[in-house]
Symmetry: C2
């Protein structure tokens, strides 16, 4: 059995793969592949409806919020957020906690004024800045809840009167959040929602229509909401697989239950990293991510041998991002705890082997 610790696109449940594979041959008794059905068929309209309904139900999205299914990934949201929310002359505040946060604010600067409230760049983003002030006249405050590359996560939503916008791409649906704390949440689907090629946006309706900017239809949240996520042809298969995955999450008991599992998985691996004399974590302990666990070896020369040692046990995707080095074990919702144990066993066996 392969243990897929890849950072994304990433592991999804095996039963989702089986159902998706079947639907590519025949979808829902239609006699047609999911790849050849019209998005305007009642059968597919039901898929879109159920996907949006499951997102609302699982995340407990309150009244007054819309959920839209888009394309282009979080990177497209880096532009769409300021285009839709940042009026001429206004300033948006950004927290810089990593490469993706930094890209988001760079794109916002193309649209308008940006204020960086804090940055941990000088420490290679190994911690989440805590002491910062969000100016009360900011159009919005933007942050990244989980930093995939560095393995840090911001668990407590910053308190502010300013509308909060959050890139939750890599920890959405991994733990309970209070959607009402946010004005806009966005996420590329390819971690805990579904496959690559789909983007989810959850937006408070009352913040829209205020930028005074005339936008192209595809870039305008209001147009996409009114189009019911089908202003134009949507990414049919990606939405279908997301629906299957959200059904699986619901069958597992929902986000509170998966959060307990994710916590257990993360605690087990961090415990081993802290115990095993060969390994050490790379981040500030209180900011450690549950989704992406970064660690290096005390002796860097052992990193290549350990990577090989792990791969021989079908543990894959643990090579760290080049900007951190070492290892990164991504442990999204669908990664079973048995895979975490396989990695821990490998670390212990490698320790044993190198004791002498």
């Amino acid at each position: 059995m392969t243990h897929n610790f890849g950072a994304g696109p990433c592991i999804l449940p095996q039963e989702v793969f089986k159902q998706a594979s079947q639907a590519v041959l025949e979808f829902n008794g239609t006699g047609l592949s999911i790849l050849e059905i019209s998005h305007r068929t009642p059968e597919f309209e039901q898929v879109v409806d159920e996907t949006i309904r499951l997102i609302k139900e699982l995340m407990n999205v309150p009244e007054g919020y819309s959920v839209v299914l888009l394309q282009g990934g979080a990177s497209m949201q880096f532009s769409m957020v300021p285009m839709n929310l940042l009026a001429d002359g206004q300033t948006a505040s950004y927290l810089d906690t990593g490469v993706w946060a930094s890209k988001a604010l760079k794109e916002a600067k193309i649209v308008g004024n940006v204020n960086i409230v804090a940055s941990s760049k000088e420490a290679n983003y190994t911690y989440i800045p805590k002491d910062f002030t969000i100016p009360a006249d900011s159009a919005y405050f933007h942050y990244t809840s989980n930093n995939t590359i560095y393995g840090t996560e911001l668990f407590e939503t910053p308190h502010t009167e300013v509308p909060v916008v959050c890139d939750m791409s890599s920890d959405i649906m991994s733990r309970v959040v209070n959607v009402a704390d946010f004005s806009l949440i966005y996420a590329g689907a390819q971690k805990n929602i579904g496959p690559a090629g789909l983007t989810v946006v959850i937006v408070k309706d009352s913040i829209l229509g205020k930028s005074g900017r005339k936008l192209g239809s595809m870039l305008d949240y209001q147009v996409q909401i009114e189009g019911g996520s089908m202003y134009n042809t949507p990414p049919v298969f990606a939405i279908y697989v997301a629906m299957l995955n959200l059904r699986w999450l619901k069958s597992k008991g929902g986000i509170a239950d998966i959060e307990r599992e994710n916590l257990a998985k993360a605690e087990a691996l961090y415990k081993e990293i802290d115990r095993n004399p060969l390994f050490k974590g790379t981040c500030n302990v209180e900011d450690r991510s549950r989704m992406n666990i970064c660690f290096v070896m005390e002796n860097p020369e052992l990193e290549k041998p350990f990577l090989k040692f792990a791969e021989d046990r079908e543990i894959i995707g643990i090579k760290g991002h080049r900007s951190v080095g070492g290892f990164r074990a991504s442990m999204y919702n669908a990664l079973p705890i048995t895979s975490v144990h396989a990695l821990i066993d490998a670390m212990q066996d490698f320790e044993e082997k190198h004791r002498n």
Copy 2:
């Protein structure tokens, strides 16, 4: 056997469905589903490379052009084209041949000045305007080569010194075109290229970088080209299926060969429409599309019964668009001629039944 005449997302070859279904279970001997592999693996980078190589080979794309794989469909290109090519103060010329052409020019108007060289709107777009002048100082000339809703197609590229931009969404790769006649070609994949969720852009490199407009990275062709179609996470599965479909097209002999088949399919059905006293075509004969064949009945009261009659024979997707009514038989590359014969047989049997 189901005969899928749907307008898109549409039929793809059965062998593509089989291969795609298998890859959802296991991709290329990796032990992983195509849905869980990283886009940065060598295996997937090869998929992107082969997809781009096949597009270049099949369409005989000359030197000096780039092929990029994007998201957002043709509708996103309606905005990206003027954002990238239309400088402040310049005017772009558009030919209005249908709803999609009209949407394209509406989006361009949000970005800059638009000149409509001709329109057949007053005749419900039943013909392609021929006598029009493209002002020599236009930033570019935009047209839609095939009008999916109305069943018209523009076979001869308009002669002009102005850069030509073409939305080929619904007839790309159905017939040979000379790419050198164009400065930019774009197409949503979901007709002849692959499944929904992928957009192909073929652009002459020398026309880029002249608009003076500072664009968000995702909206900038140059950034996407430099990113090798992977500036951010691409729609992995849609690209993979497109590659399989392009391989199939190549194995069929390429575009010249499929064009002969498409011509034979279209001629057979138009011949029956013109012969059968119950039916009549809706478009100007010389502008008739090979991809989307629109027809109505002399007696509109027979349309519902014929639709039912056809559906009983597993002929699906032939209901006409609401703005034209009657029927639309979409006959993309993957639709076998046996399906066309099944439709013709149904028309003849229905005629027989209603003779008395």
